[in-house]
């Protein structure tokens, strides 16, 4: 279990669900809560009383939970760049890469929630991010927002809160146990954040090929 040292935790680190043991969690004295920290491309699901935090520039996060079961999770992603993605991406016979990648990011989170015991019909969705934070990444944030709203509509997910767009980065802390989200707008774009998002964007190019196939013959 990877937990960072911090000032005197008053509760024990909750067990991580299988597959999430490696994700970094730290003790947050102000909230009195263990907190998982998400980087671009990661997601985390929990049924314990803990928080999930991330910093978003043009990336987007979906916070999804089943309020009755106290199971929730969050992801952090952006769509890969592609040319010619129109408004009918869902019905594009070649199913645009961006749409396929976004659906994959959402489905990975939703599948883990359902496997942990959440009920699809009760899922409540909150979305954050999609800012216009760098001049070189102007349309990316909006594309992420458009995708997320379209996905929620298609999948019939209840969108209960959103704070998207704008020109400032956001720090998000999500408490899946009660659904509360703390959003802090950051005054400026740090080099770290800009580099992280640029590196993530470049790493997505490598995934263009996608779709690993294995035949059992």
């Amino acid at each position: 279990m990877s937990a960072l040292p911090g000032p005197r935790p008053t509760v024990a680190l909750p067990p991580a669900l299988p597959g999430f043991e490696q994700l970094q969690r730290f003790w947050e004295p102000k909230s009195g809560c263990w907190t998982a920290r998400l980087l671009p491309g990661e997601y985390y699901v929990t049924r314990s009383n803990e928080a999930i935090m991330t910093v978003l520039g043009s990336c987007i996060s979906a916070c999804v939970r089943d309020p009755d079961r106290g199971i929730g999770g969050m992801n952090h992603f952006m769509l890969p760049e592609e040319s010619g993605a129109g408004h009918n991406a869902w019905l594009d016979p070649k199913a645009g890469l961006a749409t396929r990648y976004g659906s994959y990011a959402m489905e990975s989170l939703l599948n883990q929630l359902l496997r942990t015991g959440a009920s699809r019909s009760r899922l409540e969705l909150k979305i954050f991010g999609g800012g216009k934070i760098l001049s070189s990444m102007t349309v990316i944030g909006q594309r992420n927002i458009d995708f997320m709203l379209g996905y929620a509509r298609l999948e019939g997910l209840k969108l209960s809160a959103q704070d998207v767009g704008g020109t400032q980065p956001r720090k998000i802390v999500y408490y899946p146990a009660d659904g509360k989200v703390m959003v802090r707008r950051l005054a400026s774009v740090s080099h770290n954040l800009a580099d992280r998002e640029r590196n993530y964007m470049h790493s997505l190019h490598g995934q263009q090929d996608g779709g690993e196939v294995e035949l059992f013959e």
Partner: protein, 120 residues
């Protein structure tokens, strides 16, 4: 052109896979879970079934197992299309009787070439 049953609980996935297959000239019918797919497949024959794994009511591997018990589907290609890529899960799929395993995000060209290959 083949008659294909595409099974996924995600409406977004159903739209994307359906559009890809239809544009390639296939006739596509869709189902949102394993149970619905089984009912549809039992009522009329399909040349190929492509299914997600994690779905409510009946999952994709259970669907593959059940289809393999039907005489009509003993020799029909049954493909799995999922976010799961662990060796254990793939083995489970193979044991259930799946013909092949495709990992999401799916690549439309590779999906079509895989379908062409298992149908030939």
């Amino acid at each position: 052109m083949a008659k294909i049953l595409a099974v996924d609980d995600s409406a977004a996935m159903r739209q994307m896979v359906g559009a890809t297959l239809t544009a390639a000239g296939h006739e596509v019918q869709q189902a949102a879970d394993g149970q619905e797919a089984l009912t549809i497949a039992a009522a009329r024959p399909f040349d190929l079934v492509i299914t997600d794994v994690n779905m409510p009511v009946m999952n994709g591997l259970e669907l593959v197992r059940k289809l393999r018990t039907l005489p009509t589907y003993r020799g029909v290609p049954l493909l799995v299309l999922t976010t799961e890529n662990s060796t254990e899960r793939k083995l489970e799929g193979k044991d259930a009787g799946a013909t092949g395993w495709l990992v999401k995000p799916f690549n439309p060209d590779r999906l079509l070439s895989t379908i062409a290959r298992v149908l030939s």
